[in-house]
Amino acid sequence: MSAHESGSEVHAVGSTKLFVMVWIWLAVITFIEVFLAYERLQPSLMLTLLVVLSLVKSALIVSYFMHLKYEKIGLTLLLIPAAIFCICMIIIFFMPDGARLLQMRLTQ
């Protein structure tokens, strides 16, 4: 099936070789994450590291597999800031009370 998919074949949305490279990187980051899971780190530090690595992975998926990188820049400027803004709003509304409850629990 893959016999015809030669790496030299370059299309407007990227070549097979590029996609395979992206896939390998995604797999490598996945293994780094699995390795990291067995390091006895603070849960908050661990969660931060895992989310940062996942953000790198999602950036790879969005730019190459969903080829947002090859679309007009306006689409990226519309979609990504909108998502980040909404997530920030969620955190702004959620975190103050979340932190307060945590504090109450710790002082009990």
């Binding site: 015809h4 299309h11 949305v13 996609f19 797999a27 969660l47 989310v51 969903m66 679309e71 629990r105």
Partner: protein, 213 residues
């Protein structure tokens, strides 16, 4: 737009067909992008709520042994990533108008989705046998069950819908009912499902690996 065809090959016939101003993509693709952003927010809220519960509970259950849970979920991750790869190859084949190959890649992608779902369900059954349900855990932390089954269940629903979507797409595209742009839109959805799992797997599985000894 002076050109008759855009970068994605959509003839600009009316302002409503898209493909011209402002993003040079057809309206279906733009619609899918907007859906993806709104679905991102759904999963973000769930994962944020989960992260808070996870960090706020020092006695959070850690039920995932290297084998079977972590080995299984890691292979599920690789299967889903591989299905994303077959999906981009399918989209590339569709843009070359290679119908037979596109259908094969799409069906292979759907097969990856089925394998993922089956593995995930066996993983769920394992947890049920160990006493983890959506409303209780052996350690008495029901939030673990609620967040785990809630988030992975919603993701599994997305995968199942994606499999149906891809099968319909492969049949329709094979018969010439859909265009290569439609295949690309289904690809966007599939990659998004993959993307969500890239957060669910580390945040839920890897944050709760069993650390004995």
């Amino acid at each position: 737009m002076a050109e008759t065809k855009t970068a994605v090959g959509v003839p600009v016939s009316s302002p409503w067909s898209g493909g011209g101003s402002p993003f040079a993509i057809n309206s279906k693709k733009f619609g899918m992008w907007l859906f993806i952003i709104s679905d991102t927010l759904t999963f973000s809220v769930l994962l944020l709520a989960y992260s808070y519960s996870r960090l706020a509970n020092p006695n959070w259950p850690r039920p995932f042994e290297i084998y079977p849970a972590i080995a299984k979920s890691t292979s599920m991750t690789l299967i889903l990533l591989a299905s994303s790869l077959t999906m981009v190859l399918g989209v590339a084949a569709a843009h070359r108008n290679d119908r037979a190959k596109t259908v094969r890649w799409l069906l292979l992608t759907a097969l990856g989705g089925v394998a993922f779902t089956v593995l995930h369900l066996t993983e769920w059954v394992n947890l049920f046998h160990e006493g983890y349900t959506p409303w209780s855990t052996p350690q008495g932390v029901p939030l673990f069950g609620a967040t785990f089954f809630g988030i992975t269940g919603l993701h599994m629903t997305h995968v199942s819908i994606g499999v149906i979507y891809l099968i319909i797409m492969s049949i329709g595209y094979g018969r010439g009912k859909f265009t290569s742009d439609d295949v690309e839109v289904s690809g966007l959805y599939w990659h998004f499902v993959d993307l969500v799992w890239m957060f669910v797997f580390p945040m839920i599985y890897l944050m709760s690996v069993s650390l004995k000894g």
